[in-house]
């Protein structure tokens, strides 16, 4: 595939790609020069130039619609086409958030019913659809926990506990909300070390953030005991719902003792990831926290749906009522599948992950040899020791087999981690191809390590210089005439991560 020019290189002065009415009024006051901008330097291209440019760029992407995408923790499942057709219906796509409530009853009904569906699925009382993504849901939940303690006059709780296996957003959220973050070490079996937890609990602990199942793809067997311990110490339980896909329909996070959680609609409820967003991170909570939810939320009065601000709301975390376009898609999905379909989601996600686990454990190191949930974490540490091929090399070689690599180097506590989440939407045939490729790569690592070191061999670009990119950042195109003052060089490590 040829290098695609930048859109700026395709520009020709005077060319247009738009069709708009002429300006045929001049009643408005002439704007004084002090209000007016100078030159506006945007590219000038025709519609065909632009269409071809972005179509060619799209073809340089790997996507769910082009192949298997087993990114652990990201839940890259198939995004049903019907959702896209529903989301662009004029009554959903072309309504303004401030319209009178009587003119948007259909939209409010979607939100009201989605709130109820998510409450049922999570085992919680009340739901706010406002947060725009998982991390914003976390931020919301942690602010609610703080508001709860403050409302009780319990003002000394300044610590949030976070296990060392957590997503990076958990500690970052705790810090953003002004808490001290204390990290909890996981035990050798991947479960929480209850003695370490006991030692960390005190009247300074506001709460704990736990991902269920954990980022190790394991269900915490002591979860009820953990809830009991945290509650006894006066803390609250925050559930990171990133992995809800494993549980949906079979058990409810609320029944495990969690007080508040977020739900990633872009994972479990398959709203498209969009190359990094938009997401949607509704927050669900028990009745003790319901008054603190960000508002407004939708309530039903008689036959009418209306927006209402919870009594002691933490306020707003974003403008308007949340990522409604994602609410419509998730509502469509749940309405399509029903409870039986959702249970099947969980079952097949777990079957698929365990199938990969047993088929690859003789080829890759398996840190936790027990039943996993919706994802399995392998490690390339033995292969690295024996052949010098690192997990990154394995990941890049998988690209040559036509597949997207799993999440790598996360969770941080597993050295050379390969985090594989096949999802329920993949068939056994696809998994067999993946397993076959992974076995071949393990073999190749021993036979021809250079093949892995230099992978991928089939892509338009080979491995890119990430260190150089960070050392001398080139973050935008400039006209050749514009002088560029490079930022001061700073050395930094560059890693892979997940979200």
């Amino acid at each position: 595939m040829a290098t695609e020019p930048l859109i700026f290189d395709l520009s020709s002065p005077g060319r247009v790609g738009f069709s708009l009415p002429e300006v045929d009024m001049d009643e408005a006051p002439q704007l004084d020069a002090r209000y007016l901008r100078g030159e506006l330097d945007l590219p000038e291209v025709s519609e065909i130039d632009m269409t071809r440019h972005f179509t060619r760029l799209s073809q340089k992407n790997y996507s769910i619609d082009t192949g298997f995408y087993p990114l652990g923790s990201c839940t890259m499942k198939y995004n049903p086409k019907v959702h896209e057709d529903v989301a662009i219906m004029p009554g959903f796509a072309h309504i303004h958030p401030y319209q009178p409530e009587e003119s948007v009853q259909g939209a409010l009904q979607v939100q009201y019913e989605l709130q109820n569906m998510l409450a049922q699925i999570s085992g919680m009382e009340t739901v706010s659809l406002q947060p725009a993504a998982g991390a914003q849901g976390e931020f919301t939940g942690i602010l609610m926990i703080r508001a709860y303690h403050r409302a009780r006059g319990d003002n000394n709780r300044d610590i949030i506990l976070v296990p060392d296996s957590a997503h990076g957003t958990n500690p970052a959220t705790a810090a953003s909300a002004g808490f001290k973050m204390v990290s909890l070490k996981s035990g050798p079996d991947g479960n929480m070390d209850l003695a370490a937890l006991e030692a960390s609990l005190s009247d300074r602990v506001a709460g704990i953030m736990l991902t269920v199942p954990s980022t190790l793809g394991l269900f915490e067997p002591n979860i009820l005991k953990i809830s009991e311990m945290v509650h006894k110490a006066g803390g609250l339980m925050y559930g990171d719902g990133a992995n809800l896909n494993a549980l949906v329909g079979h058990l409810r996070t609320g029944d495990l003792g969690f007080d508040v959680m977020h739900i990633n609609l872009h994972k479990t409820f398959t709203t498209p990831h969009g190359g990094g967003g938009p997401g949607s991170g509704p927050v669900a909570c028990k009745s003790i926290l319901a008054d603190f939810l960000p508002g407004p939320i939708v309530v039903k009065e008689g036959e009418n749906y209306t927006l209402r601000q919870p009594a002691k709301s933490i306020g707003r975390v974003k403008n308007f009522w949340g990522n409604f376009g994602m609410h419509v898609r998730a509502y469509t999905y749940i309405s399509h599948l029903g409870l039986r379909g959702l249970k099947r989601v969980s079952e097949d996600a777990i079957i698929n992950a365990n199938y990969i686990r047993v088929q690859l454990k003789d080829w890759y190191y398996l840190p936790h040899d027990r039943m996993c949930m919706h994802e399995v974490i392998l490690s390339g540490k033995n292969i690295k020791a024996e052949t010098g091929c690192a997990t990154m090399d394995i990941a890049k070689r998988l690209i040559d087999y036509g597949m997207h690599p799993p999440t790598v180097y996360f969770p941080l506590i597993v050295p050379e981690a390969l985090m594989i989440e096949p999802t329920e939407t993949e068939s056994k045939e696809t998994l067999d191809q993946f397993i076959d490729a992974m076995r071949k790569i393990a073999h190749e690592a021993h036979e021809d390590p250079e093949l892995l070191h230099n992978a991928p061999h089939t892509t338009e670009v080979s491995r890119l210089d990430e260190v150089g990119a960070a050392r001398e950042p080139n973050l935008r195109w400039r006209r050749p005439s514009e002088a560029v003052v490079p930022a001061a060089p700073v050395l930094e490590a560059v890693g892979s991560g997940t979200a």
Binding site: V16, A28, L36, R37, E39, L40, F54, L57, N61, S63, D85, V86, M89, F92, H96, P97, P100, G106, Q109, Q120, I121, A135, Q136, F139, A174, G178, F179, F219, P221, L224, L251, R252, T270, P272, G274, G275, G276, G277, P278, G315, R316, V317, K318, N319, W321, F324, M326, G338, V345, I351, N354, V358, K396, K428, S462, L464, D465, A469, S496, A499
Partner: protein, 442 residues
């Protein structure tokens, strides 16, 4: 089942390979007391039933294709060319993940690099990130960033900032000990900005559409070593002075007007741009140009040590998922429009707003509250409660303006109404509105 392709026979075969006999055995670590709870969900619908159900819900809403709309206040009915939708609905864009594996994501990465450049060109700023959730949360992050740069905690907020922006700022401040002070940015010439103020936040055009002259503000803010943050409307930059020309330090915009449907409030696209010297304090993802090992041009996510997945509790923000697909729409929109198209959209919106305001001003009992010049929105004092006006207009296929009677920054606030025009507002729609208002006022 439709999205779970394994057949029953395959499921049984896989369970056998795993070494268990039933589905139940997969949940062995789960306490039995919580398994299989009662969950009440509606019965599943087939695809045609689903489409019918959703169409019915959709048709209960008064959409802007079948009604005239005069609402603005942060969400705007601007036109999005068909080509923009066709590009953002390519599934290679919308079904991809964050471009963490650059060899498989050159399309998205190059598009982000182009988006960053376009936002810089539009705003006159040095660097822009790959997007934030929306303008409100981006502004919250900007205030936190300004406090972190200056190591101060007082934030001066212009009173005519969008009230929802103020509300989001308040929520963001909670964890950071930030103090918000509403203060007119036009502090008197003799007054110096106190040296404990971290940043001054202005919105231009402001919440009631007024365009203000901020030419000397940056100099005075910088004299106190503070940061100037401007919230702008990207469409207005087809005409109006850019944040860069005003020497603003952090420029925040709501990208919704750039080809993104109103969609009842989201998803939108927070635009975040700053000066080169602050790039390492900036939240959010960044794409950078680099070379592969054969020297070929390519793109990667860069400066990731600012971000939560590397830096965890020391990150500049907890943001992870952003609004990437909405940024694809904005990229395509700005490309499609170019300088002439964007200027046309801005001029048409500006002219339409004044055409409407001139006629409403002549109606008895109505008074324009926004000072000239205003851009595409203006506040009106009405003789009847705006709520009542809106209700009556709706019966005529008109979605009226926003009731801002509670917005304390406007005089005559007992009956204040915020109206908006865009390039899609027609003379017929405006004439019809004015006619109905004349009837209602009498």
């Amino acid at each position: 089942m439709v999205y779970t392709p394994n057949t029953e026979a395959q499921r049984q075969e896989m369970l056998a390979t795993i070494g268990v006999s039933s589905i139940k055995d997969l949940y062995t670590d789960v306490p039995s007391s919580v398994i299989d709870p009662q969950i009440e969900l509606p019965a599943p619908l087939s695809e045609p039933e689903l489409m019918a159900h959703m169409r019915q819900l959709s048709e209960r809403n008064a959409d802007a294709l079948h009604n005239a709309t005069f609402l603005g206040a942060g969400s705007y009915n601007h036109y999005s060319p068909s080509a923009v939708y066709r590009i953002m609905s390519r599934s290679e864009f919308y079904t991809a993940y964050t471009p963490y594996q650059p060899e498989l994501s050159q399309g998205t990465l190059q598009q982000i690099y182009e988006f960053q450049t376009l936002i810089c060109q539009l705003t006159g700023m040095d660097v822009a990130n790959a997007s934030m959730y929306d303008a409100g949360s981006a502004l919250g992050e900007a205030a936190v960033m300004a406090c972190s740069i200056t190591k101060r905690n007082k934030v001066w907020v212009s009173p005519r900032l969008h009230p929802e922006h103020k509300a989001v700022l308040k929520t963001f401040s909670d964890g950071h000990g930030i103090e918000f002070i509403e203060h007119d940015a036009h502090f008197s010439d003799s007054q110096e900005l106190p040296r404990d103020v971290a940043c001054v936040i202005i919105q231009n055009p402001n919440f009631i559409g007024e365009i203000r002259d901020f030419s000397d503000l940056a100099e005075r803010v910088h004299a106190a070593d503070a940061i100037l943050i401007e919230v702008y409307d990207p469409i207005s930059l087809g005409l109006l002075k850019s944040p860069g020309e005003l020497d603003v330090d952090i420029a925040i915009g709501e990208g919704q007007g750039l080809g993104i449907p109103m969609s009842f409030g989201g998803p939108y696209c927070g635009l975040f741009a700053t000066k080169e010297k602050y790039v390492r304090q900036m939240p959010g993802r960044l794409a950078g140009m680099t070379k592969d090992k054969d020297g070929k041009r390519g793109f990667v996510l860069t400066l990731q040590t600012r971000e939560q997945h590397i830096r965890r509790e020391k990150a500049t923000s907890n943001i992870c998922t952003n609004e990437a697909l909405m940024a694809v729409a904005a990229t395509a929109y700005l490309t499609c429009m170019g300088p002439q198209g964007l200027k046309r959209v801005a001029e048409l919106s500006y002219q339409n707003a004044h055409f409407l305001a001139n006629r409403i001003a002549k109606l008895p009992g109505y008074k324009i509250l926004s000072r000239d010049p205003f851009f595409k929105e203006f506040a009106v004092q009405t003789p009847i409660a705006p709520r009542e006006l809106n209700k009556r207009l709706l019966a005529h296929g008109i979605v009226g303006g926003l009731d801002i009677s509670g917005f304390t920054e406007v005089e005559g606030t007992s009956n204040a109404w915020l109206l908006c025009c865009t390039e899609l507002t027609t003379k017929e729609q405006m004439t019809k509105l004015v006619g109905l208002l004349a009837e209602m006022g009498s």
